[in-house]
Structure formats: structure tokens, C-alpha cells
Symmetry: D2
Subunit: 322 residues, 4 copies
């Protein structure tokens, strides 16, 4: 596995998970003409890697992957892999409706130099659990790099079956899971089952921004927080507190970040969807912090207006980020 | 609009709908190597056009569009447009997650010669009604050919707002709607509102296979039945009975087709999803009828086994199609 | 079966369905003190029976059954059964979460003199199809009168399995189904399967207000339109047109009723739920027509304000009902 | 508030939450004739109170409240309140579809001597957030004892709005919330907002069985674990470890309980719903441990068979409970 040499931020023994730590899903800065803003993306990468993150996840939901044409996706992959230059592992989302399309994205990501790819269950289709498993097996068989399963019911409208994940983990078909299902009890049961079954070398990452200390206390290996774009140093501190067992400090840091997370509600729900508001607030924050040139999001997302952007600014100020 | 010259199968006056009649969504035959089976696709086109259908819809859900890579999609578009050679209008599905990706598919379809494109609401994303409307407006503004809205909640997990459709119809932004929502009361309210508002030139097509006579009695202009692949002559007869007011004959024909539709349950629900069973049964039927060379469906769909295929064969026999 | 002597409005042979025709779900007029307004309820019964309806369904969703305490329910049952005095059959909803509670309601309804009871799948609970079937069988075994299954996914969050309905129909466990699922294709498949299997004496009623002519053309035996409270004569005319094969007249009448149905949108969606708006508009209409004394709905429903009530008045006027 | 004198198991100052600690939702033992098994229920109460729990919650989902007629509910309330005799506070579920029905249940619970009642959003109805808020306000205004909001989307199909909860908490309308939504990030945001706004005297209880240590670390005041019926001593130990900051011991205890929780999957998903399996396994465990006489659950739930019961027995043995 190509992730292994660079990936592990911490080792629990000979069969450590291939990836752990803080692995932010990287926003995709755009120009007003809706092209990828390469210089801004490079600055964002510097902002994240410079903060001490352990890996990057490009072309995930937070990256607006669903909105980006393939040429944009390629630009993102090439820009980030080249700019990171091996300092940390890079995962690439291979997000599409079904197997053959996902395989193509996976090959593009691996070809661009990603250390692993991230794959959801099929969507748009009406998929049986047996088909989800076939999908992950077929994608993994065709992928030149390790595959991470992406559990994202809010987007794909099905939940990955834990028994299937255990099976694919034990067989080495998938290298890890990014759990954004919000089911913390289920996540913990998975972690315990992996341990009880002696399955090693499998990374469990959580997509939560709000319960990182809990998740690490349960035994997850890494976190993939969208808000980590805005405050990567905060998440790195939080992670290190947890690894060192400083739970009170971790809780205080997590609570500061939780308050900061309030920026995702900046956009009025009467005018726009939750996605527009959350992604718009991340980009507004990156713009206000001087990291990206333009806070625009891809269509058909509704942009934040001036008053909504001001709410983001106040959130940043309250968190000590301006 | 490019559909107009060839499209209308019937005229209600100077501002007739741009498209009506029987417009089957065309299955995509595949080879065992998962390439588009061009000769089989051409035979399928002949089978449909020869039966007297009024148009073809390629790259819809029944075409396995979600499973097909872009190169496959291009092959389908080029093959069908060329082989049809203007005998009937061809609509092309521009099915993808969000606006910029959909615009690219729409341009490819128009470039290949399609007479219109078919566009759903965004999916995978969490989309606000205002964003759905922005999406359709932006896609229509960028499309060289008329846009038909595709209402498909089972796949995209949102329903198109009727007030929005009326607005887009009145402004001429969209040329029609393909309603696969299953909400017949809502469809009828839409038809009545279009009439009461004097909006003309807007095509209302239904995706139902089972209530075609009802839908035509309500005033829809055309039908897009997946089962029309298997028995296009049946749907053409049904349509003509309805247009001529032969409701008893229409009902008998519809009931025969409803019984034939039982083949979609051939696949065991314990083994596969409804999609695998339905698309697998259509392709098995086309294979058993000698129209396509191979009944295979794209991964990760589960293929019908021999016993399940036998159920399809019996369904065909009972319908007098073998 | 106690329904049989009075029920059939039309006969298709020796084993006619036990109930058919127009069977409105009866609104429950309330006093400002939230008691059942008995004189208003009696006037409403007269309004409906006098219009020529074929049966009454009390304590359904349109009756606000979910909002009414058991004492209110008893008052409704006793008032209506006594006031109807055998002129038409009366069905009583036995709406509650699970079996033992439903059995109690069923006994109360039968004890009050109802000719049949109407029963949904369990709700609030997480119920397996096998449990839904067990529920219907146990309720039917305990009920002194025929049981009608009520298919209402919008409220109970599961759909009745058609194969189960066919089984229960063939065995005589249930006497009919009230289908409010909105799945017209599935309804038609059920009707055809009942016919093909030779199952007789089973009533298929649809809850639609908007596609009554279609449903009757498909073969349903009766309709249960909430809007029938407001314009029972319209639905009786519509039904008679259909039974006589006057499809053009039926369509015109259905379209008039469809326009009238627009009153259900009187309430602003920003202020209230669809239920509040729909039930509030029916009661406002009955109040404006002078049939009930007070348009109030049970808490926590939000009442229509003056402007919203004015929209109902305009809808009535346009339909020729004021 | 009547809970206050007996309720608080720990004090955080002058405005401590009215209730905290371990508050199991009490199973309802039944006889083979489907009556409440009073002696078994009394033994179960002794089992729980003797283990050191801080309160009891009767007539919740785990108590099969949805399945129990009102007379059964009254027997449960009276039996438990009398048998507890003030040793710990008792909450009673007032679970029904809408306001007037819930108010009646609330009065029955208060009349029987409960220290508080637990109330969900309306269900079966289609309810707007404004209607949910009106419902809670009206129920609280009518209730003689404090009201706890019950957030249970899996049963009522809507989630309580956090802003509403904060409003009702600040105004003292509700005394607490039992969160069974599974949204741990949202729960934490609520806890933080309550603290930041200085709202005191409001109890936040979680329904989780699997992340009790995390939830207590975040600041919840109490836990309501269904599995606490089976192993109340385990949850009491877990709670005490957390309150004392013994996080490693807490984690070990939580993981033991998580493994024990595997009994809820004893029932085959092909034969029964998740509810039947979970409630059936709890009762089977209580029967195997000699606490209740009969493991039967109320209809239409499917009972565990011998092999499934054996799985429960093995789970108990592995957890050291036999």
C-alpha cells in the first residue's frame, strides 16, 4: 500500500492503521469564472500542512466534488499532490454514481499520485446491500491504491452495513472507513469488533467536527473535519491533547471549535440549503482570513450575502481567528 | 426549438407540445466485456422505431445511465442519433450531480445531435428548492437544445415543485417535464394549471408503465415507459386507442401490459435491488426476444440467474411475445 | 358481515364488494372549548347523506382522529351511527399504535354500531412486514365487524405489501382496503391480481380526491375523498358519471373539484403544516357554507387566519358553492 | 417542581438539573394472557433500585408503551410508583399522537404519583415545527408535574429543533430532554448553548446505551439505557466511574456493556423487526436472570425462538451475568 510509508502519524504496533490523525477535507477555491483557483488552493494546502495536519482529503463533499466537472477534479488532484510533495499522504475522493464511473475517478486519482481513494456506496440507483459490497470489491480490485469506504447516508441515502465493513477489513479489501454517518454507537461497535477480531491495519476516521475528543477516546484513528479548513491548528491541538490524554484541555478546545462551527448556520435557511450555508461559510472564513481570493461556491449553490458573511466574520473573531 | 420539426405526433393547435406520444427510454445493451454493444443497440432502435414509437429517450435511468462512464454515454448518443437518422426525435439524459457537470453532459448530447436533453434536480448534494430552480435555469441557459425537467424522487430524493415548473414553463425555460414521481394527483393539477394559465408548447410526459390510459385521459402528451423496450407495439396500440377514445380497448391493452410488467419482480429481493431486477428483466426479455445479444447489466448490479430468467420467459410467453 | 345488507351501491355479481361508492371521511366539528360539536356533526351527516353518498367513514385522518381523546371518539361514533340510523353503512377508524390498543378501538366502534372498522399498520414502533400481517390478522380475529386495511404511508411510514393484501383478501381476513398511498400503479396491479385470482367480495377504496375518474376506470369500488365534506354532491355526480361511462362529463366534474381542492393550500407553509392547512380549509369551508358552527381544529394545529380563510371563501365561490 | 426534592443525584450548584444519573426505561413484564405481570414488575423495580439507579422511566419505548392499552398503562404507573415508594423519582411516558391525548396520559401519570412526564412530538400527523412547539407548551401548561421532551426521530419521524429546546428550557416550560436522536454533535451543541446562555435547572438525558462515557464527558446529566434493565449495576458503575473521572475504567465498563448489547441482534432480521429483537432480547435476558416470569412481548411483536434465546443466554454468560 502506498499510503503506509508516509501515512501513519502514530503507531500502535506492527500493523498500525495506514492513516490517522487530522486529515482535513480540502475546500476547492474557485475563481469568479468558475475555474479552480490554483494559487488559492496552493495557499490553502500550505495553511493546512503548515498547521501540522497528518494528511489531506481532496474531492470530498466539503471540496464540492459533486459540483466539479472532471477537468476541475483533475486540476485539484494534480495541484494538491504536486504542492504537497509527499509531506503528508493525500486521499482523493472518487465520487460518482456507480462502479465503472467510480473506477475511472479512482484511476485518475491514483494516476495523479494520490495515496488512497475514498469511495461511497452507489447513489441515484436503488442499491441492495449485496450490490454495495460488490461495488466496493470491484472498485478495490481495479484501484492501484488503497480504498477507503465513505459512509455518508446524508448524500447517498444508505448506510454501510457494519458486518460488511468488518468482512472487507478482515480480507484487506478496504484500508479504512471514513464515517460521516453520525452513528457514534455504531462506530464504537465497529471499533470494538475490529479489536475483538484482531483486524489490524485498518483506519477508522470520523467525519465529525463536534465530537472529536469522544471519537478519539473510543479509539478512532483520525478525524476528517470540514471545519479544519478554517482552523487546522485548533484540530491539531485537539488531536494532540487527546493522544496525550489531556482530556480537560481537549474538551475546552473542542468546545471552542464547536462554537466556531456555528458559522455553518450563517446562511438563511429560507434562502438556501444547508450545504450552501456550510460550504459558503467555510469559504467566506478562508477568504476573510486571507487564504483564498474568492469565497464563491459552485452553482447552483446560493452565495452568502453581506449580512451572512458578517456573521461568519463575527464567528471568526469570537474564536480568535481574525 | 429543434424538437419541433420532427417531434409532434399530434397537434392541438398552433402551440402544440414539442414532444408527445410513445417515447421509450432506450435500454443500453452491453457486451460481456462491459462495452456498449453497438449492433445490439442498433437492432433495439430498429425494434422501437419500427414499432411506431414517436421518439426515443436515451441515457435515462432505464438506460443504466448512472452506471455508464462518459465514453459509453458518447457511444450511445452517437449510435442512436446516427441510426435513427431523423425518423423520430431523440432526447438525451444529462444525468449528473450538479450544474456544471450536467451542462457538460447536455452539450455532449446536443453535439451528438439530440433534439433535447433531460435534466433532474441535483442529487448527492443537499439542495434547497431555490437551488433546484437555479440549476434548471442555468442548465437551460447553457443548453443548445430544449431542456426537459425529469422529476424522479426515487433517485434524487426531492420532488420538483409544481409552482416552479409552471414558472419555468410560462417563461419557456424548460420545454417539458418527464414525471416519474408517481404523484398522479399532482401531475393532473399541473396539467390543469398549465391549461388554466394558457401555457402552451410545453410537453408533459409520464414515466408510468401502468396507468398510461389514465394519464392520457388526464391530458398528458406522451409516455416514457421502460417496459416499452420489451413491447413497443403494445404501447403504440395503447396510445392510439387512447387518442381515438377507445377506452375499453385501451384498458384491455393496459391490463395486458400490466401483467407483462410482472417480469420486473423476476429477481429475488433477498439477492438484489429492485433496479437490478427490473433492468435485468427488461434486458433478459430483449435477449429472449432475439433483439440484443447479451442480457448483462452494468456493475454492481446482480444478474438474474437461470430460474429468474425463466420467470421472464414465462411472462413473455403469457403476453404473447415469444 | 354486517356491512353487506346496506353496503353495496352497485353489484358486479353474487360476490359484490361489501362497500363501494362515495364514502366521505367525516370531519369532526369542535366547539371553541374543544368538545365535539354534536349539532354541527349531525348537520354535517345530513349534508353528506342528503347529497347521496354511499357510506360514511368516521374517525379517519380527515376526522382528526389522531387529535381526539377516546371520549371524543366515542361521542363521534355514537352521534353518527345514531343519526345515520342505517341509511348508509358507517365505517369507524380504529387508529392507534399497535394491536391491543387497536382492538379496543375496534370493539368500541363495533359496539357503537359501526358496520366495519378501518385499521392501519402499526406506527411509532419499528415494524416488520410479518408483524404488520400479524397485526391485521389479530385485529380481524378480535373484531366483531369486518376490517378494512388502511394504507397510509404518509402517517404510518410503511406501505402495505400487496402480496399480503391479496393473501388476506383471499382468506377473507380483511373485507377491503382504503388506499391512500398515492401509488396508482400499485393499486391497479392489486385490482388486476384480485380479478385474476378470482377473489371476490373485497372492497377497494381509494383516498384520492383528484383522480377519482381514473381510479373508477381502473376498477376501484369506491372513493373516500376528504374534499367530499365540502362538496359531496360533486363527488356523487362524479361517481355516477363514471359508473355510467360518461367519461367526458366525469373529467369536467373532476377538474372542477381539482380546482376546488386548491383550498387545501390556503394556510401559509411558513406558519403551519400541510395537515393544519388542509383540515383547516375543509372546516373553514364547512363553516362558510353554514354547515358547522365553528371552523376550529384540534391542538396543536395552527388555525387559518382571516386572509387564509378568505382564500377558502374565494375557492368556494369559484366552484359555485357559495 | 416535584422532581426536585428527590431527584438530583448530584448537585452542580443552586440550580442543579432536576434529574440525572442512571434512569433506566423500565421493561413491562407481561403474562402469557397479555396482562401486566405485577409481581414480575415489582421484582424488576427491586432489581433496578437495588442496583443503585437514580430514577426510573416507565412507559417509554423500551416499556412497550406503544403496545399497551390504557388500563395496562395505569397498572404500570400505579405498581411502580407504589413499589418505589419515593426511593427514587419516577418519570412516566405520556406517549400518544397529539396534544389532547397526551394531556390525558400526563394527568394519569401525575395522578398516579409520577414525578415528571415524558412527551414526544406529535406523530401520525404531519406536524410543522411551530406545531411541535405549541404541543409542548400546551402539554406543559396542562401538566401538574414537570415535562421532559423526548427526542425520538426513529419513532415520531421528526427531530426536535434545538433552538426551540433552548427557548423552552430558558422559559422553564420543559424541565429537561431525553435525547434518543443519536445526534451526538447536536446534543453537545445543545449542552454548550445551555451553558453559554446560563440556563440552569434543565436536565439533559441521553438514551444511548453505547456512548454513555462520551455523553457524560460532554456534560449530560443522566442516561436512560434500555440495556440498564439487564445490567443496571454495570450502568451504575459506569456512571460512577465517569463522575469520578476514572475514564479508563469507564471505557472498559462501557465496552463490556457494548458487547452485551449484541443481544439485541438475537432475533433474525428476516423474521422480525429490530424492535421485536431488541425488546425480546431484554425480556429474555430478564427471564434468564430470574427476574421476570415470562419473556413474552406484546403483539404484534414476533417472539424470539429457542435458538435466538440461546444467543441471549450466551451474551449474558459472556458478560458475567449468569
Amino acid at each position: 500500500m502506498t499510503v503506509a510509508p508516509t501515512g501513519p502519524r502514530f503507531a500502535d504496533g506492527p500493523a498500525a492503521p495506514v492513516l490517522g490523525g487530522v486529515v482535513p477535507p480540502v475546500c476547492t477555491p474557485l475563481t469568479p469564472e468558475m475555474e479552480v483557483d490554483v494559487p488559492s488552493l496552493e495557499r490553502l494546502v500550505d495553511h493546512l500542512v503548515g498547521a501540522g495536519v497528518d494528511g489531506l482529503f481532496v474531492l470530498g463533499s466539503t471540496s464540492e466534488v459533486a459540483f466539479l466537472p472532471d477537468a476541475h477534479r483533475r486540476t485539484v488532484l494534480e495541484t494538491v499532490v504536486k504542492h504537497v510533495a509527499g509531506q503528508v499522504p493525500v486521499l482523493g475522493g472518487a465520487i460518482d454514481m456507480a462502479t465503472l464511473r467510480v473506477i475511472e475517478h479512482g484511476r485518475a486519482a491514483a494516476g495523479a499520485g494520490c495515496d488512497g481513494i475514498v469511495v461511497t456506496a452507489p447513489f441515484y440507483t436503488r442499491t441492495h446491500p449485496a450490490e454495495v459490497e460488490a461495488h466496493l470489491r470491484q472498485v478495490a480490485a481495479a484501484a492501484p491504491v488503497p480504498v477507503f469506504a465513505y459512509d455518508l447516508p446524508v448524500s447517498v441515502h444508505s448506510k454501510l452495513d457494519p458486518a460488511m465493513l468488518l468482512r472487507l477489513a478482515a480480507e484487506g479489501v478496504v484500508a479504512g472507513v471514513k464515517d460521516s454517518s453520525g452513528d457514534e454507537g455504531g462506530l464504537r461497535a465497529l471499533l470494538l469488533a475490529l479489536r475483538d477480531e484482531g483486524t489490524s491495519g485498518f483506519s477508522v476516521l470520523t467525519g465529525t467536527e463536534l465530537t472529536v475528543d469522544s471519537a478519539l477516546a473510543m479509539g478512532v484513528h483520525g478525524v476528517v473535519p470540514g471545519l479544519g479548513n478554517v482552523d487546522p491548528k485548533g484540530y491539531v491541538r485537539l488531536y494532540r491533547h487527546c493522544r496525550a490524554g489531556r482530556w480537560a484541555e481537549a474538551r475546552a478546545e473542542q468546545e471552542r471549535l464547536l462554537r466556531l462551527f456555528g458559522i455553518v448556520d450563517a446562511g438563511a435557511p429560507a434562502r438556501m440549503g444547508r450545504g450552501s450555508s456550510a460550504l459558503g461559510s467555510f469559504k467566506a472564513a478562508l477568504h476573510l482570513r486571507g487564504i483564498i481570493d474568492c469565497p464563491i461556491t459552485a452553482p447552483p449553490q446560493i452565495p452568502l450575502d453581506a449580512a451572512e458573511t458578517e456573521r461568519v466574520r463575527r464567528g471568526l473573531a469570537a474564536a480568535g481567528l481574525l
